[in-house]
């Protein structure tokens, strides 16, 4: 149960849903039993119980893992409409967007894990060389134990269930802490996990800062956190006390560099898809800002204007195909970015806002100052700055002057520019001539670098993220060289040098006394 009293008013869902639904919410809450505080004691006993479950060995078995993954698949299949409804309640997310961005991704992630698990669980053979001859070796994937997944509000279903799929696939017991800023989804997840999964090893803890702090005080074998860089630091510092490894999926200002030699219509659509179609800009991999040449900017702006109208109609605020801003606090922040001096006069499109419905038009500002807030902090909303440069190569400097982003996008047909971009712009990941899609391809890892995060997941990378890769070396008793052991005679010294410098031939030569007297030959 969410402890609303501890949340700042702006985070409560009351203002964010139509009045009728709000009244229904209140009625429901009155019927429910008293809230039980989840503090340190509760967190500690939950972890203890999960450790016992893990120790019993049940989560390690292939059967258990597959049964849980199938449980998740069933859950998503059977309760799809409940999930879509919760997402609409929390974010006004259009059902199709919910389907594309969350449900389908969860389904395919689950299917991937079920299909791949047997292979993933197999030890990987490793080569062994002369230095350990004769021997065989393999790398075994051990589950880490009891892990914590802390999720976020913008894709509250997917970013909760996807890491949990990885944790389960790797054989761990797991606690999920969904975001309280998407309360309907949080409550639904709590119920669904209880209904469909093994409660002795997979748990959901709802709540806000106090509950999260209580969880972070415990000793976990791994923590996967999705959210802001600020809280990422807090999570990592808490993990440091227990030497707990972490995966941090953070964010940043994801730039899209647009060249003039592109198919404008297609590029524009893909940019719109990566901005306003992606939770209305509230996405860690969404396009944050655009860089293009001074000459091309007017054409690009006109293209975007047309595209926005084509997708969302003449009045985007009335369109059902675009999400709203999640909360009044976020709304206020975004309006602040727009109304800053020297930014408000750079408006070229949109700018209207409706605080009751928490809607802001798809808005474009042209060349706001680099020191303005809108160019310093991650926007996470429907505002799109366009920064112009003389020559596109200058865009690299603009991007590299900011912290490394989670994603970077380039639209061009210039092969050299593509190569230069890949080589000289550090980022979590990149798409060329498109947006977002690289994270849907699970043969590639999804994660950040620098301020945008550390570690990665998706597909087998999820399994790996929640496993320890244990090196196992099998040695035999034959072939024991006495030269390994003291006392260290000069002869032994020579042979050892021979082996390390020249491999087997070197060693044989040394054994025959043909090694040079100096400190060994160069390799």
């Amino acid at each position: 149960m969410i402890i609303l009293s501890l949340l700042p008013t702006s985070n409560r869902c009351s203002v964010t849903v139509p009045a009728v639904l709000w009244e229904e919410e209140e009625k429901k809450k009155k019927k429910q039993p008293q809230t039980v505080t989840f503090g340190s004691n509760e967190a500690s006993s939950m972890v203890k119980q999960l450790r016992q479950s893990f120790k019993s060995g049940k989560t390690k078995s292939y059967q258990w893992r597959v049964s849980q993954l199938k449980g998740i698949a069933k859950m998503v299949e059977e309760r799809e409409s409940d999930i879509v409804q919760a997402l609409y309640q929390d974010l006004s997310k259009p059902p199709l967007e919910a389907f594309v961005a969350e449900i389908s991704m969860a389904k395919s992630s689950c299917r991937e894990a079920i299909e791949g698990l047997q292979d993933w669980m197999k030890p990987e053979k490793a080569k062994t060389g002369i230095s350990t001859y004769p021997s065989t070796a393999e790398i075994v994937s051990d589950p880490l134990g009891v892990v914590l997944v802390i999720s976020t509000w913008n894709f509250p279903f997917l970013l909760s269930i996807d890491p949990v799929i990885g944790a389960i696939a790797a054989g761990n017991a797991v606690v999920l802490k969904p975001s309280e800023i998407a309360p309907a989804t949080s409550a639904l997840l709590s119920k669904l996990v209880k209904d469909y999964l093994d409660d002795s090893a997979v748990k959901v803890v709802e709540g806000a800062i106090p509950e999260t702090s209580a969880l972070l005080d415990q000793q976990w074998d791994k923590i996967l956190y999705t959210g802001s860089a600020r809280v990422g630091r807090i999570v990592m510092a808490a993990a440091a006390k227990h030497l707990t490894p972490v995966v941090l999926e953070l964010g940043g200002k994801c730039p899209a560099v647009v060249d003039s030699n592109v198919n404008l219509e297609v590029a524009v659509r893909r940019i719109i898809a990566g901005k306003w179609q992606c939770n209305n800009g509230q996405a860690c991999i969404g396009v944050d800002y655009i860089i293009t040449t001074k000459d091309f900017a007017p054409k690009l702006i006109e293209g975007l204007r047309k595209g926005i109208e084509e997708f969302f109609g003449k009045d985007p605020m009335e369109s059902k195909d675009i999400s709203r801003i999640v909360s009044p606090a976020q709304f206020k922040r975004l309006v602040g970015l727009l109304d800053e001096d020297n930014v408000s006069d750079k408006l070229v499109l949109g700018g209207r806002r409706d605080s009751t419905r928490l809607k802001i038009d798809p808005t474009i500002v042209l060349d706001p100052p680099q020191e303005s807030q809108i160019m310093q902090e991650e926007i996470f909303g429907p505002l799109l700055p366009i920064v112009t440069v003389g020559n596109l190569k200058e865009s690299f400097e603009v991007i590299n002057s900011k912290p490394k982003p989670l994603a970077a996008y380039l639209f061009t047909e210039d092969e050299q520019l593509k190569q230069d971009f890949v080589e000289n712009v550090p980022s979590g990941g990149m798409s060329i001539n498109d947006t977002i899609l690289h994270v849907t391809v699970h043969t590639m890892p999804f994660g950040g670098v620098g301020e945008s995060g550390m570690g990665s997941y998706h597909g087998k990378f999820s399994f790996d993220a929640f496993s320890h890769k244990k090196s196992v070396l099998y040695r035999s008793f034959s072939g024991d060289a006495s030269l390994r052991y003291p006392p260290y005679t000069p002869k032994k010294q020579m042979v050892m040098k021979g082996l390390m410098n020249g491999g087997l031939p070197g060693m044989l030569l040394a054994l025959l006394g043909w090694s040079s007297h100096n400190s060994g030959t160069k390799s």
Binding site: K60, F99, V100, S104, K107, T128, G129, S131, S135, I139, G145, D221, G232, R233, A239, A240, K241, L243, L250, V262, V266, R269, D321, K418, P426, S427, G428, G429, M430, S431, I432, N433, V439, V441, M444, P445, F446, V449, G450, E451, G455, K469, K470, S471, V472, L473, R475, S476, F477, D480, R484, Y485, P486, P487, Y488, K492, K497, M500, S519, K522
Partner: protein, 485 residues
């Protein structure tokens, strides 16, 4: 070293990295070759420094330090070009035409903090990884091995690019100052306690970290399955070699304690004593083949482990202590109390406790009752026991029927889990540990998938549903108007 100078060095490293010079294969190869020259040219100086700092014999120095560096650098040189190539990521047909690749890019400016027990290799081996991955590096060797530290400070600038690879000497104050700065990656080898401090400092800047820590590495000796004269001698030799061989027990992967069945204990003890005598003579204090304790503080710490009367009463071999020379004999203890400091803390010294069990299978539970160790060393021929150990314990790694040698295997990741560490290196894992793997997807503009975009309708929903199932046949039907939506 003055902190202002340290800040200047760091600023130069950033500047050098930004210039892009460390990105080229040529630059990286030049540095690696220069490192090989460095250890080759100064081998004797290194032997002297290691002997001075730790009493290490040249053979041990070559085997564990110089040889390791040579091997790693050579391996890296042979494979670097391949490692630098992007890996292909296959892209589903639905995105056609598209290509995917995973590109390794350097993190940027890296801090490597070394340890004192292998003061050369535990600094240069990670350095090889950091250079191979194209980073600029600042190295902080351990001040507890002073001659080795000053060797690195004075010699590295003569061989490696001084604008990109720097050495800073110093103690706790210097380390603290370094940890307060922003790094793109930190690689630390040392104790758990300091590991926590490093990780907490890294958290302030969201810096990714590799921690090579330690723990109590057990050896499980199953003499029921190993009975031949030859084989039991091998076991004893390898254990003695794996306990007192590397820096006299002061090694993270050294054998910390031993588990054996009660009925075989005396036999094993006798064998171990025999080989201790053979390797180190009647008076190990006189032997030149064994290291001494690194400093007074550690000597007193190890000595203190024996002060508990219940512990000292369990000594069955060795126990001789020379206060003046800071020397402690190879010492074996039989069943010291399990709650003694000797059995709860990592020993990091020449004391070998032997704990007896009724059945060797109990060793699994025994190990699982403590934190996950860096390595487990089972000596057994029982295939069932082998499988059980691998599947029911967790540790950084497991090496069967030998000790230490996994360190030389470049195809095996070397690193801990839980309290024994975070992250891994050796071979390509070194390259990877200092790289960020960037996913890059490239698409063409044609053909363009209309159903991606609003306004939404049932056709588009059906299309996307089919696309997500990779149901190309269904998609075909839909597009031809032969499927309901």
């Amino acid at each position: 070293m003055k902190m202002e100078r340290v800040d200047k060095e760091l600023a130069e490293l950033r500047h050098t990295f930004r210039s892009g010079k460390t990105r080229s294969l040529a630059w990286r190869e030049t540095q690696l070759k220069a490192l090989l020259d460095l250890v080759h040219d100064h081998q004797e100086t290194l032997f002297d420094a290691l002997h001075h700092d730790l009493g290490k014999h040249p053979v041990e120095s070559f085997r564990d330090e110089i040889g390791v560096v040579k091997k790693s650098a050579t391996h890296s040189l042979a494979h670097l070009k391949n490692w630098m190539k992007p890996r292909t990521g296959s892209i589903p047909l639905i995105f056609f035409p598209a290509s995917g690749k995973i590109v390794s890019e350097p993190f940027g400016v890296v801090l490597i903090i070394g340890s004192w027990n292998f003061p050369i290799s535990l600094v240069l081996d990670p350095l090889i990884g950091a250079i191979s991955a194209g980073n600029t590096v600042l190295v902080k060797p351990s001040e507890l091995a002073p001659l080795c530290s000053s060797f690195l400070l004075n010699t590295i600038p003569n061989y490696l690019d001084p604008t990109a690879i720097k050495v800073v000497e110093g103690g706790v104050e210097t380390s603290q100052h370094l940890l307060n700065q922003k790094w793109d990656k930190i690689f630390f080898t040392g104790s758990k306690a300091v590991g926590r401090i490093v990780l907490a400092a890294a958290a302030q800047h969201l810096t990714p970290v590799t921690l090579e820590l330690g723990g109590k590495c057990p050896a499980i000796v199953d003499l029921t399955s190993i009975s031949s004269h030859y084989d039991t001698r091998i076991v004893a030799k390898r254990i003695v070699g794996g306990k007192w061989g590397p820096c006299s027990g002061q090694a993270c992967i050294g054998v910390d304690y031993l588990l054996v069945e009660e009925k075989h204990a005396q036999f094993l003890i006798d064998l171990l004593k025999k080989y201790i005598r053979r390797f180190y003579g009647e008076h190990p204090k006189e032997s030149n083949s064994i290291c001494r304790i690194v400093n007074r503080r550690n000597f007193e710490r190890v000595q203190r482990l024996l002060k508990d009367p219940a512990v000292s009463a369990s000594i069955v071999a060795g126990g001789f202590i020379d206060e003046e020379r800071q020397f402690i004999d190879p010492t074996i203890l039989l069943n010291p109390p399990l709650d003694s400091e000797l059995m709860t803390e990592e020993i990091f010294g020449p004391l070998l406790p032997i704990i007896t069990l009724n059945d060797i299978g109990e060793s699994i539970e025994f190990i699982n009752s403590g934190p996950k160790p860096l390595t487990i060393y089972p000596f057994t021929k029982d295939e069932k026991l082998k499988k059980m150990i691998v599947s029911e314990t967790s540790s950084g790694g497991v090496t069967f029927n030998d000790t230490m040698v996994q360190f030389l295997c470049d195809s095996l990741p070397f690193g801990g889990v839980g309290e024994s560490g975070l992250g891994r290196y050796h071979g390509k894992y070194s390259f990877d540990t200092f790289s960020h793997e960037k996913a890059v997807m490239e698409r063409g503009f044609y053909p363009e998938l209309e159903p991606r975009y609003p306004p939404w309708n049932s056709f588009k929903l059906k299309f996307i549903q089919l696309a997500y199932n990779f149901d190309y046949f269904g998609l075909g039907l839909l597009l031809m108007g032969l499927k309901k939506h």
